[in-house]
Symmetry: C2
Subunit: 235 residues, 2 copies
């Protein structure tokens, strides 16, 4: 097959293409159980390869755009949202990620607050799916989401990243719901409350959550800096 051989040989000479992709996590209520669960928006591919499969938002890096700006643009174009948390995740550069040309993808991840996530657009070619029910995505994007989830689960244990999912004030039960959604397991409410009250990152406000049937729970606020949430070199 001389034609195929020529293509392979040509391909080996071309410099790798550089792309930016973004994993955008938000907590949204599960339609059945009602509890918050992790969701992310996907974009339907309208071209080959992997036409009609769903993929992470992204595209080639423009010559005049920084990596972070390209990721913020992915987020803006896909969801209409500004990022509250946007950080570089990892560069994926295996030789066989795309059947057409070698592509090195620098992947960012964004966490979106619930009031923002509620505003996010959904169209025929953009839809939000549960992080634990993605189906078969284009390229190696299932693996990228798995890695992002692994990093998120790790990071929630040793950092303040959970607060990037919450509004400016929140109840202790809402913090627990973030941990439960990220870790994918139920936590003991009393133990969790005790541990959380012992951390220096949050402080009680004088306000209470209104509208429940029970005694209104107290609202807390995050007192750390936004930079503390992130691990980027410019922070």
């Amino acid at each position: 097959m001389p034609i195929y051989s020529a293509n392979v040989s040509e391909r080996a000479q071309q410099p790798p293409e550089l792309a930016i992709s973004t994993v955008i996590f938000a907590l949204r209520p599960d339609p059945e159980a009602g509890v918050p669960t992790l969701w992310l928006p996907l974009v339907r591919r309208t071209r080959q390869p992997f036409r009609d499969l769903w993929a992470l938002p992204g595209g080639p890096l423009s010559p005049d755009e920084s990596l972070q700006d390209a990721a913020a643009r992915n987020l803006q174009e896909t969801t209409g949202l500004q990022p509250s948390y946007l950080e570089q995740l990892y560069a994926f550069g295996g030789l066989d990620r795309s059947p057409v040309q070698r592509v090195v993808s620098i992947v960012y991840w964004a966490l979106v607050k619930p009031d923002e996530a509620a505003l996010a657009r959904e169209t025929e070619n953009v839809r939000w799916v549960r992080a634990d029910d993605l189906g078969q995505l284009a390229f190696d994007h299932n693996r990228i989401v798995e890695y992002a989830l692994w990093r998120l689960r790790n990071k929630v244990e040793y950092s303040s990243i959970a607060y990037a999912f919450l509004g400016s004030t929140f109840t202790l039960a809402q913090v627990r719901e973030v941990y439960e959604a990220v870790l994918g397991k139920q936590l003991d409410p009393a133990n969790f409350r005790r541990q959380l009250r012992a951390t220096p990152d949050i402080e009680p406000t004088d306000e209470y959550l209104q509208g429940g049937r029970h005694r209104p729970p107290r609202l807390y606020r995050y007192t750390g800096s936004a930079a503390q949430l992130s691990g980027s070199p410019s922070a």
Copy 2:
């Protein structure tokens, strides 16, 4: 200056070049104080831009080489060493990193054990320098090393990365010397020993360090997995 304008305009059209660079940390004795300190190897640039300045080992990504393989090759070619710890650090992609063409550098970091570091080659164009006394490096490489140091200092606090600097057995004092070298400060020996004995990651052996003037200290070994040290998606 029409020629200059043409160049700028041409430059804005070209796709960014993709390079791999590697920050290689090892502990070596300070020549004066004798205590272990952080060092890294640098390579003298023999071409413009930044000719004759020192730079991190690296170069353009070959079409047929994975990111990790390219970083391992940087390490091999610069020092003759195989990596015991090699992990992706960050992708640096600012618009003005190089005066010639836009370059996106995916940076890896390697940690090298002392017996390996003692074998490392040094030539006219490769030299090891103290991490806290680099001088002016080419491109944004000072900033990259600063970020690598920041990540190392963070990671030593919550992970087992310190053991990547040590041999298969070590004394508790040697672990403390790693922390002191990385954190750049002296630690209280008794407190440190107590905290270290409480971690599940190490266990005592039946062997003792020979050759000192004092009572020989006991040797310990790291019991965690190599994968635990690293944060890469393939681990």
